[in-house]
Subunit: 355 residues, 5 copies
């Protein structure tokens, strides 16, 4: 069993904090920077080829959403940090690529780190990616290691002007992004639950000798998902308290709704964990049951054959004076006696449900 | 084993929040809308065939109770939302049909989501339905997926003018509805406890090979009920704090009483869980006990028969010089010796309580 | 195993709250109402035959203690409620006869529900009764389902004027009643602990096949007692906070002392629970130990007898050319060899502590 | 196993609180009262033969430390209570001799109950004694059931004027006494840990059949020590909050240090508990391992001997036509074959690590 | 198994608090005192041979960092304490050399105790050292029992003027030291996790009979690391609250980042603990599985050979009238029958997957 989650983030040992090193283990994708700006009437998308282009661009609509794929380019981060006045720690956190879900208030903007989970198509292993949001007055920045498709539906809604997204400000957009991330978990947890149910069916059949290892993999996946969802719940809990100036009261109601969804997801995981621990008990009990059955068979066979073997042994003795040996039907009588004993014992065991 | 609780709500992925989609998996009942209006002297009930009828209707008595069965009709929800000024999130939550018990304060009204449990008559599986309440100044709205009969007794009391219900305002009516929901749990938990006691009797008899699976089903049912009751307790805890303007001080005393009932129910579930975990231990121990008994029987039989078989083997040897073989009563002596050994060993085991 | 604690209170379904129904399952005792009134100098006791007598009676001394046995008479409750201005919910709670220990502040009086435990003399099963207190300015009401003897010593002290009881007001009397209830638990828990110690002695002897069921009964009794004591501790915790006008600062010191006693009782129960869970482990281990011993015996016997039986079998073969068979002392040599093998194996097992 | 901790304090049932009864189960030591008074320059010790002497004595130095051994004399307690203005509950608590560690604020003085543990020299059982402190302005009272030696080093330091004890007031003396009590635990827990390590060595050797009972005794001792230390930590936590006028800011720093020591002790106990629970697992696994070994031996022996016995049986058959029987080296061939089979099977098992 | 963590700090029993005794069990290294002073432009390092040199030295740059190796010299501590005005308790804590991670606020400076862990190169055992920090206005003191290399990278950065370290004040230096300590844990926990993964691979192979003991050593190491990290998290939590005047708002952001790192480390440990407890279950199950396999083999062999042996026994009987014995191919028929029975039983077991 491999435990990918056993690798803690290895920090840039000996480097001053704020040093921007590329996160080496992420695949080196060409960074893709796109800016969506909109108001109720209009929505424009611009894609920048270089950071410099972005620095030179002047947006004209009130709400900005800058989305960045690929977090391995320190120069790009530096440019974005400079353009939006971000603290070096924010940039370091984003480049670092292993953050617990959290919200940090930097006064003029909020930095939110979240995780998104995927089942790898080939190995069916659970894998996570980081998604970062920066929320300020009139702008939202989103950062992903690679195009994950989490925000695709939202972007379409924005471009088509469906829902109230275009009527609202950057705070509602920020809610929309968080809600998209939470909605993404529903799909993952549906898949996870399907796996649990499938495994549950195999526990009692008991033919698979790796079932215990698989039960434990499920258990650890539940832990991993929980460990991402609990701090995400905390992030939403902090936001709904309404202490941040970025969110208007109307948006807080929506955030509370998103918070309820995280509660629902965590509850669903709790249920799955109970089902899994029930499986463990069933598995252990099935193992012990099989031992019982084997022992019973052994005992029954031994009890039936031992007396018969003894009788055969007795009439194989070589004493001069053994009258039975000379009886005409002695042999047949002994054989009949043996059969009788076997039948009788068999009947007793059948009555006691040992057979 | 099926785990119906493993299905989290699958949200309307990609749809803007507030989009009202019919909750597809609920049976498409014809919605039934009925309005009860009353004061101390009078009580009228009106049934609306269409939402439009309802929108046109002008009530004449001070307290209104609108009850709706069937939550699959977005147009109806839209109409009710418009008539009572409800937030789109409330309507979305109601149509969604999978909500944790919760209370949301929308300023001019409270939205309360609760669950009600039933044992399916045929499969004896535990099943839940959502019940929603909206509590405002002078009105209470209640929403159920189907007629559950939870409020039947309350409606009769209202129509017959029994109790103080008619003398009081909408807040007392809201308390009455919550109390009816809590009372409903007493019946379910009585049935659950009866199932637990019945199972408890079968654990020691041990004939049923599916007993472990059934113990675990009970355990999971206890979890499910607990998971509905704990947030319901929280709902009542929040209401009794008296921070909401909808409840008068006199009604708060009644809410506190309902809160005590939820504590009582949760405690009863805790007890059941302990009984169930005791069953698990008994079951495991009974299994191990049976192994012990079989092993003992095997050991006793082996110890008694092995020496006898050896003796028979010895006198079956073909040595020329074996004086015992030629003794007149050698054979009978050996047989007597064998019987003696068997009796002696049997006595020893009987004394050691191995038999 | 019966689990009397699995029955939750079945409320008066469909009845308006405040409806006073007799608590049907309590034995219909003739209600007995007695009033003790006292000051530092004097103490009078009056017994009322009917509620009407009580309503007509005018007390003359400053502190009143009304004690009622039997809670099945709604009319009596109604009369007391009217006389002392009690809320219908208080009367309903008292008649209901299954309440968690709690304290409710009704402004002009406090309502306290507690439980008292008894071991049934015949079946040695733990059984509980409700005791209710109402504490107001200048009066204390106490309600019991039947004469339990909890307050006997207190009443005698009051009548004889011993201690400072007569010098103090109704608040100190209320403390005295609570202290009497807590003192009562010490006796019950002493008995419980004696039972636990007795059981502990039987675990290792292992002759009783129902020991596991009895261990679990003890465990459940510990839970039941704990479940009564923890809310009782909370009741006293609330009272010692001094937020209620009924208790003078001097009495608060005494209440804090009573609070410490509940902590002590709960700690004693915790210890008992650990002892019980230790018993469970011992029991399980003893079971597994016995399996070990049986397996060892079986293995030893098999190892000793199998080679001997083989040797006997070999010399029972019918080959023409088996020179040993014709040796003069062949038979005796083989017998000596068998004895040697048996002794040798026996010695080896003895050295390895298998025997 | 005896569980001395299963005895809760049996209160003076039916006696009014504040009644001073001798604590009957403590050995009736002659009470010994000694008073130490000191300032920076001087330190005098006076021993009183009778309470009356003490009542008559007028101290001349600013800081008083009254130490009392033996808590069975109500008259003495009454005298001390009168002299220092103590509340009857304090005196009752001291005479009672079974108190949880706690601190009670009586306004003009603090009452602190603590426990001190000892290993009985003969039985190596853990035993506790109560130590009580009363801390007021300019005086500290300490009460012990018997001379425990906890304060010996402190008294010597005081008399010799070492450290800053003599320069400071009664609050620093009180800290010194508490610190001495905590230091005392370090010795006890060192001994406890030594016992745990010794037991740990015996678990794997497995010769002692009472090892499980001893593991559990250690576990229960850890619980007992923890149950004394956790409230002691709370006592120090309360004192360090600085809400009591008796302690000067400078002394609070020292109390915080003592508080850190209790944290350290509790942590050491936690570690011991984990080691003990690891032992339990090892013990269980060793038991199951031994079963495995026996089963393996049995299986191997059975598999080797059964075919050989069968072969011997076959050539013991009495058929007329069995050509092998008449071969010249038939017997020797069969013997060689048997040896070959035995060697082969032995080799197979050796390869599979079954031997 | 040795449990080095079972040794609580044995305090200087009977000594007044503040007595400075050398910590006897630490290797008596020659103390090494070095002072680094710096501003944005310059950085000087001075090494003192004796405490007196240090006392005489007058620093000229605004920020001071005094680093001390070896904590066994009370005179040195006394000198440092005098120079920087430290409380005797701080000096006692440092000399004591066993402190829980904690932060103490002494008004004009903070005292922070932390631990650093190392795997001993030879025995691969986890070992810890204390690192203490004192943070005041314009100076930071750091104390280590021996040169641990934790601060090497930081010192180089300071001397080379890399990062913003030289631009900032003593508070940022203090953050830098804490961050270096936390970074150090990442390395240790990486090693720990590598050990866990390696062990995980060996669990299922099952050849190592000490695997259970090794699993438990890992478990205890996880506990030890956790026990150092949780209070370290608390230290950072306290510092980030911003109640201390030593830290400027800008530095608080960095402290919060360090706090996040401790959360990350603790989470990584939690994961490791779950993996370890999964191993325990796998190990137990593998043991029980092996028992199952042996039992199955034994049962199969017994069932196959017992009937054959019986048949051989029957035809070894000496009855006069046994017609089969005289059949020409009787012997061969019986042999064929035996082979048939053996094949048949083998086939049945193969179908049932018992072989």
């Amino acid at each position: 069993m491999r435990h990918p989650q056993l690798k803690p983030r290895f920090p840039t040992l000996g480097e001053p904090p704020g040093t921007l090193l590329p996160a080496g283990d992420a695949p080196a994708l060409a960074s893709r920077i796109s800016l969506i700006e909109y108001n109720a009437a209009e929505c424009r998308e611009t894609v920048f080829a270089t950071p410099e282009e972005g620095l030179a661009y002047r947006p004209q609509l009130p709400v900005l959403w800058l989305n960045v794929y690929g977090l391995t380019d320190p120069a790009l981060m530096q440019a974005i940090g400079q353009r939006f006045g971000l603290h070096p720690l924010v940039l370091e956190d984003i480049l670092n690529s292993r953050q617990r879900p959290k919200v940090d208030d930097y006064g003029s903007y909020l930095f939110i780190a979240t995780r998104v989970y995927r089942y790898q198509p080939d190995s069916q292993r659970l894998q996570h990616d980081q998604v970062y949001l920066v929320i300020g007055q009139g702008f939202v920045l989103s950062f992903q290691t690679q195009p994950l498709g989490v925000f695709t539906a939202l972007r379409e809604r924005l471009q088509q002007g469906r829902g109230q997204l275009r009527q609202q400000g950057a705070d509602y957009l920020a809610y929309g992004l968080l809600d998209a991330i939470i909605d993404d978990y529903f799909g993952v947890i549906d898949q996870f639950n399907a796996n649990v149910e499938q495994l549950d069916k195999q526990v009692l059949s008991g033919h698979d000798r790796f079932i215990l290892a698989r039960i434990q993999r499920q258990k650890q996946e539940a832990m991993r998902l929980r460990r991402a969802l609990v701090p995400l719940r905390e992030v939403l809990n902090v936001l709904t308290r309404g202490e941040h100036v970025f969110f208007q009261p109307g948006t807080l109601l929506y955030l509370r709704d998103a918070f309820d969804h995280t509660l629902h997801l965590i509850e669903s995981l709790e249920t799955a964990r109970e089902v899994i621990s029930g499986m463990l008990e069933l598995y252990m009990s099935a193992q012990s049951n099989r031992l019982n059955v084997q022992m019973r068979v052994l005992t029954v066979i031994t009890i039936i054959f031992m007396p018969l073997t003894l009788i055969a042994g007795i009439y194989g003795m070589n004493f001069d004076n053994m009258p039975e040996l000379h009886w005409r039907y002695g042999y047949f009588g002994v054989m009949a006696g043996m059969a009788l004993i076997a039948l009788l014992l068999g009947f007793v065991f059948w009555r006691r449900r040992w057979l």
